[in-house]
């Protein structure tokens, strides 16, 4: 049997969908027994959500005042202590998991496999390298604990319908005081979340200003879509960093991705490889985005986008 521990990601109120995707990845491991751990000041709500995920056997609550904010320096020693009873420890390839998991692995003295995109065995996985331009199959030593991050865009979320036990766990771990949480800023919107939306519209440098990005928001609202951006658009200040799609932004897998005024640099394409259908609108017929687009339209976005909005009505 393989005992898999997943660190749940949440904001105190809601379990991030990335956790449900880690569960699906873990369920692909032969004879998996899955436990989700949630760290926080009060994890009662998110623990209930984790327990409802199909495939989860147990949920461990690690409630402690110091766990109010996710700091890798605080979480890692606790996760490393919890890991003792498990063969595998998984976290999501989100900014939370990327920060936490390698620190945990090093405390345990083992390597990490980053960005699992497919499970081929309990210790054999596929993962992307070179911005997704090559896929490697790697095998880890079964005699060691396996630490990994899960490329969440590669897995569907585990459905509800589970009925896991929930238990509180107190860990006798001393925590460092060298790292302190100051604050967070998020451009909270009512729009769908970029990472889980079925429809995404992204804009590039061609938009020319933050003001012009409103064209995309308006179209997105009509379609119930989330809005993304290229790095060039974020660098230029047209869109906030959390909207960036690509190698260094978000890796997404919507049903439909509409790239508007985006050239299609490899670093951008890394983020949208798993999109079901890619639509590209670009005034340059030679733009590399058309090499990967399922549907392409050559033309001026400032003319096409308002027209689309009118046609969709």
């Amino acid at each position: 049997m393989h005992k898999i521990l997943i660190i749940g990601e949440h904001d105190g109120k809601t379990l991030n969908p990335a956790t449900a995707k880690c569960v699906t990845c873990a369920a692909g491991i032969p004879e998996a027994e899955i436990t989700v751990a949630v760290f926080g000041a009060d994890t009662s709500t998110v623990a209930t959500q984790a327990a409802a995920l199909s495939g989860v056997k147990a949920v461990l609550r690690v409630d402690r005042a110091e766990n109010l904010h996710p700091l890798a320096a605080i979480f890692a020693p606790q996760l490393a202590a919890l890991a003792a009873d498990y063969t595998h420890v998984f976290g999501p390839s989100t900014s939370f998991g990327k920060d936490l998991m390698p620190r945990t692995a090093a405390l345990l003295g083992v390597a990490q496999v980053s960005d699992l995109m497919a499970v081929e065995g309990a210790y054999r996985f596929r993962r992307p390298i070179y911005a997704g331009n090559a896929i490697v199959t790697v095998e880890a030593d079964p005699s060691r604990k396996l630490i990994a991050t899960v490329r969440v865009a590669s897995f569907q979320a585990a459905p509800a319908g589970g009925n896991a036990t929930v238990a509180s766990k107190s860990l006798d771990v001393s925590l460092p005081s060298h790292t302190r949480y100051i604050g967070a800023k998020s451009g909270s919107t009512d729009r769908p979340d970029l990472q889980t939306a079925a429809r995404v519209i992204s804009g590039g440098r061609a938009l020319g200003s933050a003001e012009n990005f409103k064209l995309l928001f308006s179209l997105a609202d009509k379609l119930g879509a989330a809005v993304g951006a290229s790095r060039a658009a974020v660098d230029a200040g047209y869109a906030p960093n959390e909207m960036q799609v690509g190698q260094t932004g978000k890796i997404i897998s919507p049903e439909i991705y509409i790239a508007i005024g985006i050239s299609g640099a490899i670093q951008h394409l890394t983020g949208i490889k798993d999109a079901r259908t890619i639509v590209a609108i670009n005034k340059d017929g030679e733009a590399p985005i058309f090499e990967v687009a399922d549907v392409g339209l050559v033309g001026d976005l400032f003319q096409i986008v308002p027209e689309l909005e009118r046609l969709i009505g």
């Binding site: 090093a106 604050g183 689309l308 046609l311």
Partner: protein, 249 residues
């Protein structure tokens, strides 16, 4: 602050599109343009800006790799690093091993700050800085997009999925940098000439008592599934029609 150590990795230039070997044994690297990992360039630029604001700060660029990695360290020296150390090896170095090498160097050099790129664009692992911080038992601030120092500590703002997050860390600390922290300077010809006279020490894994453990076996390397080129439509009306037919809108 007296000393900043910066990690420099030699990688295939970000503009080069790599290809997978037909026999699946790896990626074709022969003859490709090699450069400093773009994130490491940003880490070095930040170190140089801190140096230029302060006084008497030494910037040490360190790398692990083949003999030719001296080229990337010379670039780092030309940008403004004071000296460089190459831990020369032909072995494939995984992140945990790299972290152990940097730990050994940190123990020799006692830097106040170690700046690394958040990931290397070859293996895209995003691990080394976090692992180093754990082994060094020091704070980590990852994906930094803004760094501010006060006595003995730093406030670091990071780009996270939800937006921005700010933490405070005591020094010494490890920081990994993101793209929007700064824009690296261009190297000028006279700087390249000057860099030739700057010290570049070559050492080895053995000298640092670090073994080149291979933790992961790579069984196979494949190209990603290719997307097929799709159809072109002539106007917005046709686009809407096609998407409706596909049931997408």
């Amino acid at each position: 602050m007296q000393k900043i150590m910066v990690g420099i990795k030699r990688v295939v230039d970000f503009n080069v599109r790599i290809r997978v070997k037909a026999d699946g044994s790896g990626v074709m690297l022969d003859g490709l343009k090699m450069s400093v990992n773009p994130f490491d360039e940003i880490a070095l630029e930040e170190a140089l800006r801190i140096k230029e604001r302060g006084s008497n700060i030494e910037v040490v660029a360190v790398s692990i790799g083949v003999a030719d990695t001296q080229q990337q360290l010379r670039t780092a020296l030309a940008m403004g690093a004071d000296r460089a150390i190459l831990v020369q090896t032909d072995a494939a170095i995984e992140p945990l091993t790299a972290a152990k090498v940097f730990l050994a160097l940190a123990k020799q050099e006692n830097p106040d700050l170690i700046l690394l790129g958040k990931q290397a664009i070859d293996d895209d692992a995003n691990q080394t800085g976090q692992m180093l911080a754990a082994l060094w038992e020091r704070p980590q601030a990852t994906f930094a997009s803004k760094i501010e120092f006060s006595t003995g500590k730093a406030s670091v703002t990071s780009e996270v999925d939800a937006g921005l997050k700010t933490i405070e860390v005591d020094l010494p600390a490890v920081m990994t940098v993101d793209l929007r922290l700064n824009e690296p300077r261009y190297v000028k010809l006279p700087d390249i000439m000057k860099a030739k006279k700057k010290p570049l020490d070559v050492t080895s894994l053995d000298a640092l008592s670090v073994g080149a453990t291979g933790w992961l076996k790579t069984l196979k390397t494949e190209p990603p599934p290719q997307r097929q080129k799709g159809i072109m439509v002539k106007d917005a009306a046709e686009l809407v029609e096609v998407l409706k037919k596909k049931g997408l809108i």
